[in-house]
C-alpha cells in the first residue's frame, strides 16, 4: 500500500457505507412472540424452539452486567432493536453469484469477492449479512475433504443430531446475560464439522456484515473437531457508520476431541463511532472452547480494532489431560472506544498447559482493559500457565488497565505472569524518520514490533490485513 493510499483511507472508516437493498425485517422489540417467529421463519425442529424459549425465560430474569466491567455506556433499550432482518430473496439461489448484485458489490468493496475468479485463494468463506447467511464458497473442495462449513440455519436441517448434542454445552444458556439473549434470538452464523482424522485442506472463514440500521446481529457459531482433526477458522466483521449504537451479541462454541486442534482467529473491525463517540457497535461476545479430548488444543487469536465497546473473553476449558489452550490478542482502542477484553483458562485435566499473550494499544481518549482468569482445579496436577500482558499508550489522555485473576487449587501447578507498559511517542517516530523511514511506515514498524507475537499467529493473508488495519487506525491518532 502506498502512502497516498493510506492517507486516502485514513480519512474515514472505509467500510462505513450502506447497501441499498430490499429487506424483510421483523418489527422492533423482543417478546416470546419474536422468539417463536424467528424459529418459525427458519422452520426449526421443536428442540431448538424449546432451547430458545428456555433462554428467553432465563434472559428475562437476568440483569445486564454493568457493575464489574471497566465500561461506561447508556442503558440499551432491548425493545428498540430489530431482531431479524434479511435481504429479500427474489428467487432460490443456485450459487453465490446469483445474489443481488448490490450485495455482490458490497462484498467486493469489503475485499471479500464472492465470484469464482476473484475469490480468496485457499479460504472458504461463509458470508453473513445482517441476520442470515448468504452462502459459502469452495463447497466442492470442502465436500471432497469431508469438511462441513455451512450456515447454522442449514445445519439445523442437515445435522440436527450434532446440533442437539453440542449446542449450548460449552456456553450454557444462562451463562451470562448476553449469551442468554443470543440463545433466544440467534439468527444465523456458521457451523463447522471436521470428521475424525481430517485436516481441513483450506482455511475456513465467516465474514459478518451488519447493514441494517435498526437491527442487532446475534450470530451463533459452533465448531466441532472430531478425534485427530485440524481446522483453522477465521472471522472478519464490518458495519456501516450509523449515528446510533448497534448491538452485536454473538456466541461461539468450540469442541475439540482427542488430539484435535482448532485455531480460531478474529479480525474485528466493526464501526467504532465517530471522534465524539457517537454511534458504533456494542460488541458483547461470548466465545469459549472446550478441549474435551486428550491432548486436544484450542488456540484463539484476535485482533480487535473496531467497535465502540468490546466486551469479550475467548476462553478455554482444558478438560482433557495434556490439553493446550492459547490466547493471543491485540486490542487497539482510539477515539472514545472502550475495550474490556481478555480470556479465561480453566485447567481441569492433568498436565494441561495454557499461554496468554495480550497486547493492548490505547490512543486518544480511549480505555483499554485486559481482564483474565487463570483457574487451576484440584485435579489439574502439573498444570502450567504463562501469561504476558503488555500495554502501549499513544499520547496521554488514554488509559490502560490490567486485571489478572489467578486461582490455583493444587500445589503441583506453575503460573507465570509478566506485564509491561510502554509508550509510543514522537521521539520514536522522529528517530525512525531520520533513518529515511516514512511516518506511516514508522508507526507500522513500532506497532507491529509491539504486536508481532500475536500477528504471527494469524493466517498469512490476514496477518498482512491486520497489520495494515492497525497502522491505519493509529495514523489518525498519532498524526
Amino acid at each position: 500500500m502506498t502512502t497516498s493510499e493510506i492517507l486516502e483511507e485514513k480519512k474515514e472508516y472505509k467500510y462505513g457505507f450502506v447497501t441499498e437493498i430490499e429487506t424483510e425485517s421483523f418489527p422492533k422489540g423482543l417478546s416470546e412472540e419474536t422468539v417463536r417467529a424467528i424459529s418459525a421463519k427458519k422452520n426449526e425442529p421443536p428442540f431448538l424452539l424449546e432451547f430458545r424459549l428456555k433462554a428467553y425465560a432465563k434472559w428475562k430474569e437476568m440483569k445486564e452486567p454493568h457493575d464489574w466491567a471497566n465500561l461506561t455506556y447508556p442503558p440499551i433499550d432491548y425493545q428498540n432493536i430489530c431482531y431479524y432482518s434479511a435481504p429479500k430473496k427474489k428467487q432460490e439461489l443456485s450459487s453465490l453469484e446469483d445474489l443481488d448484485p448490490e450485495i455482490l458489490k458490497t462484498f467486493e468493496r469489503l475485499g471479500i469477492p464472492l465470484d469464482e475468479q476473484k475469490r480468496l485463494a485457499n479460504v472458504a468463506v461463509d458470508v453473513v449479512f445482517d441476520s442470515v447467511s448468504l452462502g459459502t464458497t469452495f463447497q466442492k473442495t470442502l465436500k471432497e475433504a469431508g469438511v462441513v462449513l455451512c450456515s447454522i440455519s442449514e445445519a439445523v436441517h442437515l445435522y440436527p443430531e450434532l446440533l442437539e448434542k453440542y449446542l449450548g454445552t460449552v456456553v450454557p444458556i444462562g451463562d451470562n446475560f448476553f449469551s442468554a439473549l443470543n440463545s433466544a434470538v440467534f439468527s444465523d452464523g456458521s457451523f463447522v464439522y471436521i470428521p475424525k482424522g481430517v485436516r481441513s485442506p483450506i482455511e475456513l472463514s465467516t465474514y459478518f456484515r451488519i447493514n441494517d440500521k435498526e437491527s442487532g446481529q446475534f450470530e451463533r457459531t459452533l465448531i466441532i473437531a472430531e478425534e485427530d482433526s485440524y481446522v483453522s477458522y477465521l472471522e472478519g466483521c464490518t458495519a456501516p457508520a450509523f449515528d446510533n449504537n448497534q448491538l452485536h451479541a454473538a456466541v461461539v462454541e468450540l469442541i475439540a476431541l482427542d488430539r484435535a486442534e482448532i485455531k480460531y482467529s478474529t479480525v474485528q473491525n466493526w464501526y467504532a463511532g465517530n471522534k465524539e463517540g457517537v454511534g458504533g457497535i456494542f460488541n458483547f461476545v461470548t466465545k469459549r472452547g472446550r478441549c474435551q479430548g486428550f491432548r486436544s488444543k484450542i488456540s484463539w487469536t484476535q485482533v480487535e480494532a473496531g467497535a465502540a465497546i468490546t466486551w469479550k473473553y475467548p476462553s478455554c476449558i482444558l478438560q482433557g489431560d495434556e490439553s493446550v489452550g492459547e490466547f493471543y490478542s491485540v486490542a487497539l482502542t482510539n477515539g472514545k472506544m472502550q475495550a474490556d477484553t481478555g480470556t479465561k483458562m480453566i485447567h481441569l485435566g492433568k498436565n494441561t498447559k495454557s499461554t496468554i499473550v495480550s497486547k493492548g494499544i490505547s490512543a486518544d481518549q480511549s480505555h483499554n482493559t485486559y481482564r483474565g482468569l487463570v483457574k487451576i482445579g484440584p485435579k489439574a496436577i502439573g498444570a502450567r500457565n504463562y501469561t504476558q500482558c503488555d500495554s502501549m499508550l499513544v499520547k496521554d489522555e488514554c488509559s490502560a488497565n490490567t486485571f489478572p485473576y489467578i486461582e490455583v487449587a493444587n500445589a503441583f501447578a506453575e503460573v507465570e505472569h509478566e506485564a509491561s507498559t510502554s509508550k509510543m511517542n514522537e521521539e520514536q517516530l522522529f528517530y525512525l524518520q531520520t533513518r529515511g523511514i516514512s511516518r506511516e511506515n514508522g508507526i507500522n514498524l513500532i506497532v507491529n514490533g509491539f504486536c508481532k507475537e500475536v500477528i504471527k499467529e494469524l493466517p498469512l493473508e490476514f496477518a498482512v490485513e491486520a497489520q495494515k488495519l492497525l497502522t491505519l487506525k493509529l495514523e489518525n491518532s498519532v498524526g
Partner: protein, 237 residues
C-alpha cells in the same frame, strides 16, 4: 564542493544568526558549554518538528531542505547520530535497518548486515536484538554507528556520540567512524570534550555559545579549550 550551508539561522529561543559551511571531505567539531544549542543544531538539520525555525536557510547540495520531512532529508544523505538513541520495544534491529536501507531482499540485506558487522568489529547479536531495547549506553552508541555504516550518508552529524562511553567503547566507535570517512562525505561532531577529538581528527572547530558560533579555528583550538574552558569566551569584553 560545498555540501551543507547554514545561513543566518534563527531557531526560536535557541539559535541566533547561526552560519556554517561544510564541504565534502571535511570534519567539523562543534563544541561549547551545556545549553549552548549544539544538540538543537543537530536536530534542526535532521528536521525535528518540535523546533521552530524563524528565519534563515539550510542548504544541502544547494537545495533548501527546511521544508522537507525528516525522512526526505535522510534520503538525501543526511544522518544524525542521537545523543540518546531511542528504544523501540519489539522492533527487530535487522528489520529496522532493512526498512531504513530500503533496498534488496531480506536475504541480501542479511548478508550485507553480516559483512558490515564484521567490518565494524561488532557483535552478531546486534542483528537479533530489538532496536536499542535493553542496550547499555555503549551498545546504543555503537548501534548508531552501525546505522551510519549501513546507510552510508553523505553528511553525518554525531551528537555527543562520546558521552557515557568508557575508553574502550569510545575507541570502537571512533574507529568505526574513521573507517567510514572518505573524500566525498563529511562529518559534524558535536561534543563537549576534547577526548573524542584525539581519535577523530577534525579540520575545523567551532565554539558555540548562546546559540551562535563565537570562535572558529583549527584542531589546536580543542586543546586550548580543554585547558582554559569556555568561561573566557562567555562574556565578550
Amino acid at each position: 564542493m560545498t555540501m551543507l550551508e547554514i545561513k543566518n539561522l534563527y531557531v526560536k529561543g535557541i539559535l541566533k544568526n547561526f552560519s556554517l559551511t561544510v564541504r565534502a571531505g571535511e570534519i567539523h567539531a562543534i563544541m561549547g558549554p551545556n545549553g549552548a544549542g549544539k544538540s538543537t543544531l543537530a536536530k534542526v538539520i535532521a528536521g525535528d518538528p518540535s523546533y521552530e525555525v524563524e528565519s534563515g536557510e539550510i542548504l544541502f547540495n544547494g537545495e533548501n531542505i527546511l521544508e522537507l520531512a525528516p525522512e526526505d532529508r535522510a534520503r538525501l544523505g543526511i544522518f544524525m547520530g542521537f545523543q540518546y538513541p531511542v528504544e523501540i520495544p519489539g522492533l527487530n534491529n535487522e528489520l529496522f535497518l532493512h526498512a531504513a536501507y530500503g533496498k534488496g531482499t531480506p536475504e541480501e540485506f542479511s548478508k550485507l548486515l553480516d559483512e558490515t558487522l564484521e567490518f565494524m568489529e561488532m557483535k552478531p547479536s546486534f542483528k537479533e536484538r530489538n532496536v536499542n531495547e535493553g542496550f547499555s549506553g555503549g551498545e546504543k552508541k555503537k548501534n548508531e554507528i552501525l546505522q551510519m555504516a549501513i546507510l552510508k550518508p553523505a553528511l553525518a552529524i554525531l551528537d555527543e556520540t562520546d558521552s557515557g562511553l568508557d575508553i574502550d567503547a569510545m575507541k570502537v566507535v571512533a574507529n568505526g567512524v574513521n573507517k567510514l570517512l572518505h573524500a566525498k562525505n563529511a562529518l559534524i561532531l558535536i561534543t563537549h570534550y576534547q577526548r573524542l577529538l584525539d581519535y577523530i581528527k577534525p579540520h575545523f572547530i567551532h565554539v558555540v555559545i548562546d546559540g551562535t558560533i563565537v570562535l572558529s579555528g583549527g584542531a589546536q583550538l580543542a586543546l586550548e579549550l580543554e585547558e582554559r574552558g569556555y568561561d573566557w569566551l562567555l562574556t565578550p569584553t
